[in-house]
């Protein structure tokens, strides 16, 4: 089976490249590239979370940035309160601000997951075009909510005094932060791999391909889709917590509809329903942005035709060009 070996070699090479990347870019004297690579990994995580519901669950959510941005804001707001030493709230119980990653990041996931639960409860009663529109509408509501949030910078956004603290790690160091993000992404992908092969994953895929049949078989599909939507929202919240740390700044632009579109493009470009598709998509998307935006601010003019070509000629996305095994699947 030569293609399997080729795939294995390719994955090994990619992993080695990711592990050695900080040393390589330092050797080349382009230290800032570590930050770019970190952004790629974070958007790969955001893309992977959307891929769970879009690629495996068939739910075309056009509001994924709401969960991404909400996670970012949770970290930034907790950090601001920690900096000024003011509790976030005092009644009915006291919540202090914090810069601890161990508290703030899970809270970001919980907040985004809860938001996904509330939005999903309504949106998942619709499907198709209506689902796209209603997820977009909810995300825009959250967007305007943060714009009107004067205490946290409103339209101007909010700067972080420092990155989160994570035990013995010094996240202010770009290289350590990069490795932490890499580990989080790899763990998330490993868990996603288990999940999509499990009974739950089968139900998600079944509901994507033929929801009516699933119900005739006895599956209450709504609750499974909702669970998938919440998991995806929580993981998107984690990626938002990471991006807030990476940029040390959050603003409402983190959750506007263009950002939702970017995450969608990452998934479609990389390969929907392929575990590593969003990774390929995020790398390609941010690389194009990095290279082309230095050349012209209208870099989307180049991205557009590329996306059209991928959708027309590589229906499994970029990942199917890399991994021939994936080419013939749906």
């Amino acid at each position: 089976m030569p293609s399997v070996t080729r795939r294995g070699l390719l994955l090994l090479a990619a992993l080695a490249l990711l592990l050695l990347l900080p040393a390589v870019v330092r050797g080349l004297g382009i230290d800032y590239a570590v930050g770019v690579a970190t952004r790629m990994l974070i958007f790969a995580l955001a893309g992977a979370s959307l891929n769970l519901i879009l690629g495996y669950g068939g739910m075309v959510s056009f509001g994924h940035a709401a969960f991404f941005g909400a996670g970012a804001y949770v970290v930034a707001i907790l950090s601001q309160h920690a900096t000024y030493g003011e509790p976030l709230m005092t009644w009915p119980f006291v919540i202090e601000g914090t810069e601890s990653a161990l508290i703030a990041w899970p809270l970001a996931m919980a907040a985004s997951g809860l938001l996904a639960l509330l939005i999903g409860l309504v949106c998942l009663r619709t499907s198709g075009l209506y689902f796209i529109m209603i997820t977009l509408a909810f995300a825009q509501m959250i967007y305007f909510f943060f714009i009107s949030l004067r205490a946290y910078g409103g339209e101007d956004g909010l700067s972080l005094f420092a990155r989160s603290r994570a035990g013995p790690l010094d996240l202010a160091d770009d290289v350590q932060f990069y490795y932490l993000v890499l580990v989080i992404l790899l763990v998330a992908l490993a868990l996603q791999r288990r999940l999509v092969a499990s009974r739950f994953g089968r139900v998600l895929e079944g509901a994507r391909d033929n929801e009516r049949r699933m119900q005739a078989l006895g599956f209450p599909t709504y609750r499974y889709k909702l669970a998938g939507f919440v998991i995806a929202g929580a993981v998107a919240g984690l990626s938002g917590a990471l991006i807030a740390n990476q940029t040390e700044f959050v603003s409402p632009s983190f959750l506007d509809w263009q950002r939702s579109g970017e995450i969608l493009v990452i998934v479609i470009l990389g390969g929907m329903g392929r575990l590593l598709g969003p990774v390929a998509g995020a790398v390609a998307f941010l690389l194009l942005e990095e290279v082309l935006s230095a050349w012209t601010e209208h870099w989307m003019l180049v991205l557009g035709p590329i996306l059209v070509l991928v959708v027309l000629f590589a229906r499994g996305g970029l990942w199917s060009l890399i991994d021939p095994r994936e080419r013939n699947r749906g």
């Binding site: 999940l195 499990s198 009974r199 739950f200 033929n210 005739a216 006895g218 599956f219 669970a227």
Partner: protein
Amino acid sequence: MAEPLLQIEGLSKAFGAVVACDDVTLALPAGELHAVIGPNGAGKTTLLGQLAGELRPDAGRIRFAGEDITSLPAHARALRGLARSFQITSLFPRFTALENVALAVQAQAGHSFRFWRPAAREAALSEPAAAILDQIGLSGRAAVPAAALAHGEQRQLEIAMALAARPRLLLLDEPTAGMGREDSRAMVEMLAGLKAEGGITILLIEHDMDAVFTLADRITVLVYGRVLASGAPAEIRANAEVRSAYLGEAEEAN
């Protein structure tokens, strides 16, 4: 006398001005194979949709196994032992034949909030699924994606998925639809075998009159959503009204 397994009383359904199901009353005792026939547009599929829980009747009641299921959603009826097949093959095209049936087994095996164990390696799903493929004569094609199966095989798989639920009542929507003579005969044989094994009640919608008169214990004729006649095959064959409304018509068409 024991209560019939399925009892339909005064079932009615209209789509705008079109009355697709008009005061239908029927009873299926356990173990019966009951065929519903009628010309195109007679409301057969509408009747089946209401029984399966996909269409909400405007009036009337459906009792199944002693329980009023009129307002239950489709998935809840499936879990009570009411399975259906589809007239237009309705499979999971990317899943293999075995995975298709395993999914049907999974539906009956408790909740699916199980996130860790690979479903493909669960013997509790794949073994019953393999047994059903065997019973239906598809075990040689277990690893083939449903989309790549021949039409006749897809029709067989369609039935296999309904059977995987170990249903008490099986609703079959034109199982021989689009089949050639050979495949059609194989399907009728398979259904006859199923009936001979006993323990299952079947409501069969079918256009193929040979199949209907071979298999059915009783036949109901629907015309314009109404029950025109209901009785044993010999009675239906002899019924003048039925002959003029439907059977004669079918003979002319042939």
